[in-house]
């Protein structure tokens, strides 16, 4: 039963990633694309956690944590860039 659920949820996350990708290309303005990227990194953490459950291994935890931290920092840096046109003030 668990393997079926993991497959189903992986499909759901994959569909969400495609929807995000559509917003990334179609988004009328820069903040829309930024929001799409921000959602995409959270969804990729979800995929990595699902892979960990699928393979029954806790090794993927570090990768998920690293993506979470780098994703937040890159969102903050891009926001700063759009706000001021400069990352280091």
């Amino acid at each position: 039963m668990l393997s079926w659920t993991v497959t189903l949820v992986t499909a759901m996350v994959a569909i969400s990633l495609i929807l995000n990708l559509w917003r990334l290309f179609a988004g009328p303005d820069l903040p829309d694309r930024l929001l799409a990227l921000d959602t995409m990194y959270i969804n990729s953490i979800a995929l990595i956690i699902l892979l960990g459950i699928w393979l029954g291994s806790a090794l993927y935890f570090e990768a998920a944590l690293l993506i979470a931290m780098l994703g937040f920092i890159s969102t903050a840096a891009l926001c700063k860039y759009l706000l001021r046109g400069d990352i280091i003030e």
Partner: protein, 126 residues
């Protein structure tokens, strides 16, 4: 016992997946940036919470000892999601993104962009 464990983990996984999907559907469906911002910040963050709780339960029962390190990612996401949402809303205000016309209180946008207080006190403003 094993069936019960799989049932609980499956329920949490499904809750997580549904919320992540709802977040992305909102990102595509809603008409302007400020409305789109609501879906990923709230729904996707809660969806991640569901997935990580499922992973936590599964690894605690399957492997010797308790496994709570997924809590770290959950906490990190719950702390950073509102911060990045605030920064993106700020960016959109600065970039003069339009809100759809029926949004109320649009006279405040110009003051908000300059980080000034509103001209009239909102309690007096009907």
């Amino acid at each position: 016992m094993n069936f019960l464990l799989e049932l609980i983990v499956s329920i949490f996984l499904l809750i997580g997946g549904v919320f992540i999907l709802v977040g992305s559907i909102g990102l595509v469906r809603l008409p302007d940036f400020f409305m789109r911002l609501h879906a990923p910040t709230k729904a996707t963050t809660l969806g991640m919470g569901g997935l990580l709780i499922a992973s936590m339960i599964l690894f605690t029962v399957r492997e010797p000892g308790i496994s709570v390190h997924e809590l770290l990612i959950t906490l990190f996401l719950f702390i950073t999601a509102p911060v990045s949402a605030h920064m993106m809303a700020k960016t959109a205000l600065h970039q003069k993104n339009k809100m759809i016309e029926r949004t109320t209180g649009q006279h405040l946008i110009a003051r908000a962009r300059q980080q000034k207080a509103p001209e009239v006190k909102p309690s007096l403003n009907d």
